[in-house]
Symmetry: D2
Subunit: 252 residues, 4 copies
């Protein structure tokens, strides 16, 4: 009983980055958590174990995240990952590591905003009812990757739902395309990445069938919108052994 009321000890990797800074602030402000380690490039991971962190939050880079994850799982530390770049191949490696440490909980989420999580859930649900679907994601022009991790993940859940429903390719009569006009294809789904000053992080999923379209749009105006999801993931990681991909399963 008393144990449950003790704050969760949290370390943050990438603590000086944009998302890491916000995460430190949010953990610090949460009644049920204690920020015990702020780690960035040049710092040793061991300071997380020295500080007896129960959960490590990783907002680093695709290059660094796998080593971090491996080390944390090895140390028996639960992990919440917000870093992008998780392919099915990478997820499999994490599952293998976890098979040797079955008590460790890892939550990997492409997006921590509740609206983005619902957008992906709704996209998966709507997919089988519409012959057409495209994704348009829009971000500030300092973003280095295109498409965004959220767009890749959305395309992947839509594609899976279409396969399950027996839908084939989206209809497309384009024969005369200027290079790139129809976007990139992610598992057969066309994805368009818009970059413009003023924008923050936005995504639109457009479904179409005869005579009607259904659009699901998420707008993030502020990194603060991600923090309730990060805290939810931290609380879940200590109670939910094994790998959880996406916040969807944690919402209910």
């Amino acid at each position: 009983m008393t144990d449950e009321r003790e704050p969760i000890r949290v370390g943050v990797l990438g603590a000086r980055g944009r998302m890491g800074t916000e995460a430190c602030r949010a953990v610090d402000a949460a009644d049920d958590m204690e920020l015990v380690a702020m780690i960035d490039q040049g710092d040793g991971l061991f300071s997380a174990s020295d500080a007896a962190a129960q959960v490590v939050v990783d907002f680093t880079t695709p290059d660094a995240v796998m080593d971090n994850l491996h080390w944390c799982i090895d140390q028996g530390i639960n992990v919440v990952v917000g870093t992008s770049g998780f392919t099915e191949h990478r997820l499999d490696r994490v599952r293998t590591w976890l098979s040797h440490k079955p008590q460790v909980g890892v939550v990997i989420a492409p997006n921590f905003a509740v609206g983005a999580v619902l957008m992906m859930e709704f996209a998966a649900r709507a997919a089988r009812f519409f012959e057409s679907v495209e994704i348009i994601e829009q971000h500030h022009p300092k973003k280095v990757d295109a498409p965004s991790g959220t767009a890749l993940n959305t395309a992947s859940v839509i594609a899976a739902a279409r396969v399950e429903a027996g839908l084939g390719d989206v209809p497309d009569a384009t024969t005369d395309e200027m290079d790139g006009a129809r976007g990139t294809r992610v598992n057969g789904i066309h994805v368009h990445s818009v970059r413009a000053s003023g924008l923050v992080a936005h995504q639109e999923v457009l479904f179409g069938t005869v005579g009607e379209t259904l659009t699901i749009r998420h707008d993030s105006y502020d990194r603060a919108s991600f923090m309730p999801g990060v805290l939810l993931a931290i609380r879940s990681a200590v109670q939910r052994p094994g790998l959880t991909v996406g916040l969807g399963a944690l919402l209910d």
Copy 2:
């Protein structure tokens, strides 16, 4: 066995109206249906029973629909209703009538477009995660009612989900409002009705919480988009005794 392959005998009430005309055309084109009666103002309902209609589709008016429903249920004819104006009070009366004719199936739907049905389902699901929500519906300027039946229904499912989740009023600091600026309130949900030439039938549900919004938008470009839903409702009415409100339950 053989019976199941015989076409469903369908009558249409309001057959000369815009939706009725489309419904007649769609029934006529469906392999598993036969259009046996087209009834409009001045025609007697009995021609539906004379023609041995198994299902009557009602696209009439709020004034006429209750009498039509009562008569059809009495005659043991299943009914699909696309006419708007169904309050909880009216639904209760239909339930009472059906209690005396338990074999009759009635499907009442505020909107037959699959995208609109999903929009309402998603709105009900998202409602508890966002402190703010508003509905903006947009139609051609020949529409006589504001808000639309679909908007009223959406507001009602959102309001119910908010009550269940223990959410109170939406935040709103407005103290200086020009009359009507904040729209109408439907069960506490603000609803705005836009009317403009060029538009067909559109609705946006906007959810907001700290730092993010989630928007679900449905666009009907063509009345043809309603017809797959009308045919689905007809097929369901003959197999599903009792009252079904909304197409949601029929999608799966």
Copy 3:
């Protein structure tokens, strides 16, 4: 010559409010300006004249702004006003005051974001080509007035353009309206005010005619977006005697 290179001496009224704080920061950061007075409730206006302010920026309240303006004009100080609530009647009073001080420049703008200024310019231009037009403005739920000053101003320029083009009322067959559903009417133009958490400041102007619509939308994500316009207005106020309403005339 040398004079022109001396920084413009600027005082800010409402200096501790949200917009005032940003304005102080922007003036302070501008090479060609010097922030000489920060004045808020309880401070005397005379500190602006004591500090030899050449321009006073007013981000106060509709209650306070007219007294501030009168005093500044009287003192021969140029003024930039971002406070809302300027009716034609109020503008006339300002013109009268200025007639006795013809060398003083006053710029009153409902919105300092370049995108908002263009939105109003485009709305005025498009108005005569479309029989239908409606305004939907969307803001955070802490806003006290509905509609926004920008929406009122947009409606007013559209209404004037319609009159000039000989257009009558917008088409609208609504006979069955729930109170407020069709929004408020500003000079005959329907205006809808949406309030939701997560939103900042947004406005959509929807024009419609047979078979097509044209939408002009402005999104402010950050008060920072207003500051280039505020600085432009300050520079103009010292060089442009008389009353200027809106930034439109200053853009070119």
Copy 4:
């Protein structure tokens, strides 16, 4: 005087296509025009001259249109062209032909909807105030070319306005792009082409600068929306010798 009241004699090329059919209908319904020739593949152009057509409307294909234009100009017949695919090179050839027939009027328009014409005008005007701009056009999936002619034209007027204003490239930090994600580049402007069932013809131009975006969106719901513009172009062609590109100049 009397001459002016005689109907304009109009021939339509591509008369059995989707746009041609609408054009025939619109000309037929116009009080001040007479439809004197409907010509399609397999018919000879000479039937236009035999019928003494004063204006020929061309809704054919990029392959056929140049021969048609050359022949009409040679015969002294005015032409309105709605066929897409007009490069600067093609326009130069038309100008050369017209230099030998200075009395002939040719109107070439990428889009005849008034809303689309205004969208392009507004895009050209806004371009210099925003460091970022992208175009997203959305059409039904039967369209064969991507981007649309309207998008190409919009990109071209924006690019010209940016050059004139001394703006360089749009900001874009993308270093990790999946092939096509950032769309195609038209004169340096990123253009994205979305194709989905249910859609008709839509385009969004998104401008961005610090803290704000301005979006201009045009929706065509119906080919009928093009016809007022086609009739306007026909009336102009007989009164305005030489080449006119775009309807913009004709609106006022």
